[in-house]
Amino acid sequence: MTIQQLSLFLENKPGQLKVPCRALGDAGINIFALSLADTQQFGILRLLVSDWEKAKAVLEAAGCVVNISEVVAVDVPDRPGGLADALEIIEQAGLDIAYMYPFNNRAGEKAVLLFRFEDPEAAVQALQAAGLPVVPSNELFELLEG
């Protein structure tokens, strides 16, 4: 039920972001979602892509440090207060969010958010038990195609 996410270490200097993006582009890999956490000194770029295994190989060949971690895609009600309600459930389930960012949803009917939890598997179970729809990776990518 979890989604493989690629994280990249980037030094905070001009042109650093372009290198991995160009490498993925040249390999025909599409970026579906991204988030960038930055400090004055370095940044962490997190990516959801069409083919994570190939992307990892391509990025490593380009000299990037790549880490694979699992994120959980959650279908959040697309209305005012929808996210707050979801966060309420997450909090009650005792789950810690390391970070979160939105999934690029061009279909427009769903608001899918990506969450990084301490223990992704436990989070999936807790969310499902609490009635929050977790979107598996195959469905997530179908959203884009549909």
Partner: protein, 442 residues
């Protein structure tokens, strides 16, 4: 670990000479030494510039008027420009190991060789050697001074020598077993190698008949001493020397094993700040400088060893009066002075090892933007240390920060960088980028 107690035996009463007497002897011998090198071109010029003559040496303070001699000076007068006796009086040539450039030659008269043997006998006896012992020497015999120096020392004491020389560890083990040497002479790392090979052959290295070991020719640590003593069940002694000064025999440990007594009746030692060339305070680390008072063929005036150690003038229970030098902590070649504190790249490596198990590539960048030195350590991030979570990345950086501060005592900026971004030249990583030096040169 061995439970042997070593009887304190003194080879030469000169080793216990009262300090006052020793100082008087040093002044007298320094005067003779200055006279002996007066025709060596390098010293002749320097003495003329400084208006120095043997008669001008009135106290040990006058030593500071004499020029330093460096490895570069020896190279400049290669091969034998420092020879102070007619060629026909030379009985022996040796050479430095040449690890930091092309080898430099040193020469000995017959008296020099005899003195050398005596100096080695002193520390060997201090470290338990007795005439009834057999000594296994696993140093190379050749231009390197280690093998011959120790060999002569053992002969002088009257013990038996097994001149096993270097290489072929299984053969060493066979010789140790069959000839039953009680004393081992080699580098500390070679002793470890012997233990390792013995174990690989299914033996307990502690079963070898060895009781003592005399190690030298490379820097080592107290931790390594404990390991070797445990594995080979012996007592290990440290000795120090360098070919330019005489070879092994400059200093060595006594049974107290609390620093190496310098044979001050034959060498004057100074401990200086390598930047200012001023003496450091007692007990402070600095570069050791030796003047070989009694050597004839190629005496050295204030030879800068580039070895970093400190001196301890406190009395030793063994009764020897020679000042003790600490283990060599490193070489000035790679030493950095940051805000007055000595820092070696190896310390950074040690700190990184503590954080991550194996040290990644790093670069120490030093600058002085205002009046204070600022250091940034660039550390290449490795895939196994990288996390998608910022909190863990900060924790990693903080751990490195803390360890570096605890090892060096200095706060440095830690900068995590992408892998393969730090410069490597010919397989060897560049460890230091000191912008202060570049500024000094402008």
């Amino acid at each position: 670990m061995s439970t042997l107690v070593i009887e304190n035996r003194i080879w030469d009463q000169a080793e216990t000479m009262p300090r006052e007497e020793l100082r008087a002897l040093q002044i007298e011998r320094l005067r003779e030494c200055v006279a002996r090198v007066a025709d060596v071109p390098f010293y002749k010029q320097a003495f003329q510039r400084g208006k120095i003559s043997p008669e001008a040496i009135k106290s040990l303070d006058d030593l500071r008027r004499l020029p330093f001699t460096t490895k570069a000076d020896l190279r400049q007068h290669h091969p034998l420009g420092f020879l102070a006796v007619p060629r026909e009086q030379v009985a022996r040539f040796h050479g430095s190991t040449g690890t930091t450039g092309k080898p430099t030659f040193v020469a000995y008269t017959a008296d020099d060789v005899s003195l050398w043997a005596d100096l080695c006998a002193r520390f060997l006896v201090a470290g338990g050697l007795r005439p009834e012992h057999t000594v296994h020497i696993a140093f190379g015999y050749g231009l390197f001074t280690g093998g011959f120096g120790l060999h002569y020392g053992v002969e002088k004491v009257g013990a038996a020598v097994v001149p096993a020389a270097s290489g072929n560890t299984p053969r060493h083990i066979m010789l140790l077993q069959e000839l039953g040497a009680q004393v081992l002479v080699c580098t500390p790392t070679y002793a470890l190698n012997i233990a390792e090979v013995a174990r690989a052959e299914g033996m307990d290295p502690g079963e070898l008949p060895l009781k003592f070991a005399h190690f030298g020719a490379e820097p080592w640590t107290e931790k390594l001493r404990e390991q070797i003593e445990r594995e080979l069940d012996l007592i290990a002694f440290n000795n120090y020397g360098l070919s330019e000064v005489i070879g092994p025999g400059v200093s060595g440990e006594c049974a107290a094993r609390n620093g190496m007594h310098i044979q001050e009746d034959h060498f004057i030692v100074e401990c200086i700040n390598p930047e200012t060339l001023e003496p450091v305070a007692e007990g402070e680390e600095g570069e050791l400088v030796f003047t070989s008072l009694t050597k004839q063929a190629m005496p050295m005036i204030r030879y800068r060893t580039r070895d970093i150690a400190f001196l301890d003038h406190s009395p030793c229970p063994c009764g020897r009066t020679g000042v003790r030098m600490s283990r060599v902590a490193g070489r000035t070649d790679d030493m950095l002075i940051i805000r007055g504190v000595n820092v070696f790249p190896s310390q950074i490596e040690q700190a990184l090892l503590r954080v991550e198990g194996t040290a990644p590539h790093y670069l120490i960048e030093v600058d002085r933007p205002g009046t204070l030195d600022e250091v940034t350590v660039h550390v290449e991030i490795r895939p196994e240390d990288f996390s998608d979570r910022m909190s863990e990345m900060h924790a990693l950086r903080d751990r490195i920060d803390r360890e570096i501060q605890s090892v060096t005592g200095i706060r440095m900026n830690i900068e995590l960088v992408e892998p393969q971004t730090l410069e490597r030249s010919a397989g060897k990583a560049r460890r230091v980028l000191d912008h202060r030096r570049e500024k000094d040169m402008k």
